[in-house]
C-alpha cells in the first residue's frame, strides 16, 4: 500500500533540485477534485494498488476517480466518479482493485496540510511535503480545508478508459534523437515493454528489446521532463514519472505526451506499455482535449 498527499506539483524550483512530484494520473486528480467542487489545485490522496481505510471525523463530501475499486461508505456501496457523503464516524473502504493502478480521493475543501514552497505534493525521493514527504500510515490524521464558496461542478465526466494489463501511449521523439540509431526507433515503436517490479513514482524500469545508442550512453546532466524515456547503457529504457529527480545523465529517446501520461500512471508492475510516435501539434491538440475541460474559470 502506498498512499500520499498530492496536488498539481511543486513547480518553480527544479533549478534548485526540487522534484515536481504531483499525481501520477493528473486527469483523475483533476476529476476527483472537480466532482466535489474543488479547484484542480486542491490536494487529494493518491492511492496505489491497495486502498486504505479512511474514517471521517466530520461529514465529508468525497469522490474517487482513476483506478477502479469497489467502494463502500459506512458499509454501503458507492460509485466511483461521483460525489458521495461520508458521515462523521463512518469509514470509506476499498475492495480489490479491478483496473488501473492509482486512484485519487478528493474531499470537498481539499486536504489542508502546510504547503512547502507553495505546494502540498509529496516527493518521496526528496522527502519533501506533508508528513516530511513520507507515504501515509495507519493513524495519520489529515485536516480538510474550508469548502470553496461556490460549487461549479457541471455535468458528468466519464474520464478515460482505465487500462487493464497495458497501454499504448503516444510520444514525441527526442530530445536526444541524434544519439540513437534509426533501428532503435523502429524497435521502440514496434515492441512492447514490460513494467518491472523496480518501478515506482519516480519512474518505471522497462524490460524488452534493447535500444541501441549510436556511440555513447551518457550525456552531461540536463533536465528531465516527466514522460521522458531515458536509455542507460543497458539499452533497457526507464520511463520517468511524477517524482523523477530534476536532472539526469542518460540520453532520452522520446517523451510521452501530456495527454497520455495519465494512461501511463495507471500501469502497474507486470503490465505492458507500447509507444507510438506523434507530432508536437497532435500532442498539443490531445492535451487540450484531455485537460481543456478543467481549465477556464474553474481550474
Amino acid at each position: 500500500m502506498l498512499t500520499s498527499v498530492q496536488d498539481l506539483g511543486r513547480w518553480g524550483l527544479q533549478a534548485r533540485g526540487v522534484p515536481v512530484a504531483g499525481p501520477m494520473d493528473e486527469y483523475s486528480h483533476r476529476l476527483s477534485n472537480r466532482l466535489v467542487g474543488n479547484p484542480s489545485t486542491a490536494a487529494a490522496l493518491e492511492i496505489t494498488l491497495i486502498g486504505p481505510e479512511i474514517r471521517a471525523t466530520n461529514d465529508l463530501l468525497c469522490a474517487v476517480a482513476g483506478a477502479t475499486f469497489p467502494l463502500a461508505a459506512d458499509g454501503h456501496p458507492v460509485a466511483m466518479n461521483a460525489p458521495f457523503l461520508l458521515r462523521a464516524g463512518a469509514s470509506l473502504r476499498f475492495g480489490s482493485r479491478e483496473r488501473g493502478a492509482r486512484a485519487s480521493v478528493a474531499f470537498r475543501g481539499g486536504l489542508d496540510t502546510d504547503p512547502i514552497f507553495g505546494s502540498r505534493a509529496t516527493s518521496l525521493i526528496a522527502r519533501m511535503g506533508p508528513f516530511d514527504g513520507r507515504p501515509l500510515r495507519a493513524g495519520d490524521v489529515l485536516s480538510v480545508g474550508d469548502a470553496p464558496s461556490e460549487h461549479r461542478h457541471q455535468g458528468t465526466h466519464l474520464g478515460f478508459a482505465i487500462p487493464a494489463g497495458g497501454a499504448r501511449v503516444r510520444v514525441v521523439t527526442g530530445p536526444h534523437v541524434e544519439m540513437f540509431t534509426p533501428a532503435a526507433y523502429e524497435t521502440l515503436f514496434r515492441e512492447r515493454y514490460t513494467i518491472t517490479p523496480q518501478s515506482n513514482r519516480m519512474g518505471y524500469r522497462l524490460e524488452g528489446a534493447r535500444l541501441a545508442h549510436r556511440d555513447r550512453a551518457d550525456i552531461l546532466s540536463d533536465a528531465t521532463a516527466i514522460g521522458s524515456i531515458q536509455v542507460p547503457g543497458s539499452g533497457q529504457p526507464i520511463l520517468l514519472m511524477a517524482d523523477r529527480q530534476t536532472t539526469g545523465g542518460y540520453p532520452k529517446i522520446a517523451t510521452v505526451i501530456s495527454a497520455d501520461l495519465p494512461l501511463a500512471g495507471q500501469l502497474a508492475p507486470g503490465d505492458w506499455i507500447a509507444f507510438k510516435p506523434c507530432t508536437r501539434d497532435e500532442a498539443h491538440a490531445a492535451a487540450r482535449e484531455r485537460f481543456g475541460p478543467f481549465y477556464g474559470s474553474h481550474r
Partner: protein, 244 residues
C-alpha cells in the same frame, strides 16, 4: 552568443542545447539565457532549468503554444548580452576532511598517487563553479576537479551517504544535501548543508556561483556565520507557486 539548437522534450518542455562540454563560458551563457527567459516568459513558464550546457523551459501545454515559446527562446537567446550575465556569489564551505567523514580519501589518494594531505590541498586550493543544481534539493554539480585527483565514481554506490558529505566523481565535486544513495568518493564532511529548510535562504547554491572549500580540524569549526554565511543574493529565488 553560443551556437545552439532548440528541441522538444514532449509537449510541455523545450530544450536549448549548446555544444556538449563542461565549459564555464557556455554555462555562464546558459545562466544568462535562463534568467532572461524567466523575465521574458513570465507566467507562461512554470520552470526554467539549467544543465551543464542546456536550458530547459517547462510550460503548460494546454495554455501555452510551444511554437511561440520556441520563437521566444530563439529571440531571447540571440539578444542576451554579455553584461547581463550573472556572475553569481562566492560560497565558502568549511570541510573536515578524512577520517570517519572521508572514508574514500585514501582511495582518491591512491588514484592520484599522492598522500591524503595532498588530495586535501589540491581539492581546497582552487575555486569551483556551480554548473547546475539538481538530483535532489540543493545538490550542486561543481567542476572542474584537478585531474590528478579526479577519481571516477565508485563501482557500486552506497545506499546511504551521510548529509553534508563532500565528494568527488571524475571532474565533478559536490556536497550531499541529505541522506541519499550515492556513488561519489567521500573525502570529507561539512555542517553547511546545501539545503536547509530552517535557513532564511534554504538553498545554498545556484548555477554560476563559485565555491571555495576550507579545511578545518573538526566538524563544525569554521561555521562562524560572520565568515561562512550563505551568500546574500541580489536575485530572489524563483517564485514557487501552485499551478492550475
Amino acid at each position: 552568443m553560443e551556437p545552439f539548437d532548440v528541441v522538444a522534450a514532449g509537449d510541455g518542455a523545450l530544450v536549448l542545447r549548446c555544444s556538449e562540454r563542461i565549459d564555464p563560458d557556455v554555462n555562464a551563457w546558459c545562466v544568462a539565457v535562463a534568467s532572461a527567459l524567466e523575465q521574458d516568459l513570465g507566467t507562461a513558464q512554470r520552470d526554467v532549468v539549467i544543465g551543464y550546457c542546456t536550458v530547459t523551459v517547462y510550460f503548460d501545454p494546454v495554455l501555452v503554444d510551444s511554437v511561440w515559446v520556441e520563437d521566444r527562446i530563439h529571440a531571447v537567446a540571440m539578444d542576451v548580452r554579455i553584461e547581463e550575465q550573472s556572475e553569481g556569489g562566492i560560497v565558502d564551505v568549511p570541510v573536515c576532511y578524512g577520517g570517519e567523514y572521508g572514508p574514500d580519501l585514501a582511495d582518491v589518494a591512491a588514484y592520484g598517487r599522492c598522500t591524503a594531505d595532498e588530495v586535501v590541498t589540491r581539492h581546497a586550493s582552487q575555486e569551483y563553479r556551480v554548473y547546475l543544481v539538481g538530483f535532489v534539493p540543493g545538490f550542486a554539480y561543481m567542476a572542474e576537479v584537478d585531474p590528478t585527483i579526479a577519481a571516477p565514481r565508485r563501482p557500486s554506490p552506497r545506499t546511504a551517504v551521510p548529509a553534508g558529505s563532500v565528494a568527488i566523481a571524475g571532474g565533478q565535486t559536490g556536497i550531499y544535501p541529505a541522506v541519499t544513495p550515492g556513488g561519489w568518493n567521500l573525502i570529507g564532511r561539512t555542517l553547511l548543508l546545501p539545503y536547509d529548510p530552517s535557513r532564511r535562504e534554504p538553498f545554498l547554491f545556484r548555477p554560476g556561483d563559485r565555491v571555495r572549500f576550507h579545511p578545518v580540524a573538526a566538524l563544525g569549526m569554521g561555521s562562524d556565520p560572520a565568515v561562512f554565511a550563505p551568500p546574500v543574493s541580489k536575485r530572489v529565488g524563483s517564485d514557487p507557486r501552485a499551478d492550475g
